[in-house]
């Protein structure tokens, strides 16, 4: 508990110091609970998620960093590896490939990378996975772009 707190505090300081270093990621800690974080990540360019801003919720376990943080999308996203309803993310580094050397910041980067490189063979979103597996790239991109517009972009007045 104490170790994870110290580690998170260190990460917090790191984030504060390198705020400008990675403009695609905005990682903020809950005011009252250092084990709750939220992040805003920008959809990578040349993907259907370009232009969207996706909110992630981090729940850091007590044994962090030995155990991975739980991350889920708060913003709706149409992606084969993200559960459409719960926002759960199927990402190996959040499960069995976690390494204590990773940080919340690096998790954010990994999620951005996952948005650019979906893995339709281990889908949480079967519709999206099926589109990709059947080769309907255009269909997948259209759906993803639509949901990005709907959910991840500021509403046009």
């Amino acid at each position: 508990m104490q170790a994870s707190r110290a580690r998170l505090f260190k990460e917090y300081k790191e984030v504060q110091r390198e705020k400008a270093a990675d403009p695609d990621i905005q990682l903020v800690c809950d005011d009252s609970n250092i084990f709750k974080w939220t992040a805003l990540v920008k959809g990578p360019s040349e993907t259907p998620y370009e232009g969207g801003v996706f909110q992630l919720a981090f729940t850091v376990p007590e044994h962090y960093p030995l155990q991975p943080p739980q991350v889920r999308f708060l913003t709706k996203i149409f992606h084969p590896n993200v559960h459409f309803k719960t926002g759960e993310i199927c990402l190996d580094i959040l499960k069995n490939a976690w390494s204590p050397a990773w940080t919340l910041q690096s998790v954010c980067r990994a999620i951005i990378a996952l948005m650019g490189h979906p893995e339709p063979d281990s889908p949480l979103n079967c519709d999206s996975g099926n589109l990709l597996r059947s080769g309907d790239i255009r269909g997948y991109q259209s759906m993803a772009r639509m949901y990005t517009r709907l959910a991840a972009m500021p509403k046009k007045q």
Partner: protein, 359 residues
């Protein structure tokens, strides 16, 4: 260790003189002063015979130059020959052509006893600095130790040398920026000649080992210049850690002769080396606690990922994979268990582990 290469009678006599005078001072002061005098003489001889002088001594090397020293002894004029064995831990400079000519440093010698008690620490430092610097600059050889010098100082000289050496290095590094601080510490006001000459030495340090200039300065070392140079001495002495030294300089300088300090110096040296290597983080990347010495010498995985022992143990209890490369800790986990569980269990674990790996 240097007993076979004892210089000559003048040294011995001067030392005896010193001893007679120093009866009142305490023993450590005596020892220090002896060493100090010897160093100064060595320095003077450096100055006057720069070209011929070869000046480093290390315990192991001295035997090889014994012969040459004896040759010089036969050749020696009314010259005070002094070679100091400085057990420096830095390097071994083997002498190629060892013709040692030494100048008459009796004048200094006669004056030296006046400042025995007080100015030991500061002057000691500066003298040591000089010897180091000249040694390194001329890339020269062994001075063998005068017998009584080495025997007397056996106890603390080595430590001192280590420490002085450290200071010398620091001073050499800081030689360019002249931060002159006022000297609350200077107890050696009234010891004109000695402090003067020593200051010359430190002065020398600053000017980047400029032998001829030293020569002249030492020739007419007058008390008038002492104050000016003392600032330099103090500057030298303070350089290593400027921030905290000025107020407490006298005490700190004294402490430098303690064995503990030399260990400290060694530690710092090693730390320095490790930092220069640059591959070892200062804090555990997992728990962000500072790595202590054991931790930083602990490298459990071939990938080079380092972490503290505490985190390593916790990882072993979970999935036992290296955070850096995600490979299973193969042998090291077993080693980790060894300290906890003892030998037999460890080996059993090792066998089962390897079997699992094979299957």
């Amino acid at each position: 260790m240097v007993s076979d290469s004892i210089p000559n009678a003048s040294i011995a006599s001067s030392n005896l003189r010193d001893f007679a005078k120093k009866k009142r001072a305490n023993r450590s002061a005596k020892l220090k002063q002896c060493k100090l005098d010897a160093r100064r003489e060595q320095w003077l001889s450096h100055v006057k015979h720069k070209g011929e002088y070869k000046g480093d001594a290390n315990g192991g090397v001295i035997a090889s130059i014994g012969a040459s020293v004896h040759l010089e002894n036969q050749r020696s004029q009314p010259i005070c020959k002094l070679e100091i064995n400085t057990r420096n831990d830095e390097g071994i400079y083997v002498d190629g052509s060892s013709t040692h000519h030494y100048s008459d440093s009796d004048s200094v010698q006669s004056n030296s006893p006046t400042s025995h008690t007080s100015s030991v620490s500061g002057s000691n430092d500066s003298a040591a600095n000089f010897t180091r610097s000249s040694r390194s600059s001329s890339s020269s050889t062994n001075g063998s130790c005068s017998g009584n010098m080495s025997e007397e100082d056996e106890g603390d000289a080595g430590d001192d040398d280590c420490l002085d050496d450290w200071e010398a290095v620091a001073d050499a590094l800081a030689a360019t920026d002249d931060k002159h601080k006022d000297s609350p510490s200077s107890k050696n006001h009234d010891h004109s000649t000695e402090s003067g000459s020593q200051v010359v030495a430190s002065d020398q340090m600053f000017s980047g080992i400029n032998i001829p200039r030293i020569h002249t300065a030492s020739a007419n070392s007058e008390s008038g210049r002492t104050a000016n140079r003392r600032a330099l001495i103090n500057c030298c002495a303070w350089r290593p850690d400027d921030a905290c030294r000025p107020q407490t300089l006298p005490n700190l300088a004294k402490q430098y002769s303690f064995p503990l300090k030399s260990e400290h110096h060694l530690d710092r040296g090693s730390v320095w080396v490790r930092k220069n290597v640059g591959t070892i983080p200062t804090a555990c990347p997992i728990c962000v606690e500072d790595l202590d010495y054991t931790d930083s010498s602990f490298c459990p995985c071939a990938c080079g990922f380092r972490l503290c022992l505490f985190c390593h143990k916790r990882i072993l209890e979970e999935d036992a994979r290296c955070p850096g490369c995600r490979k299973k800790y193969e042998v090291e986990p077993i080693d980790g268990e060894a300290t906890l569980d003892g030998g037999s269990l460890t080996y059993r674990l090792a066998r089962s582990c390897s079997m699992v790996a094979r299957s």
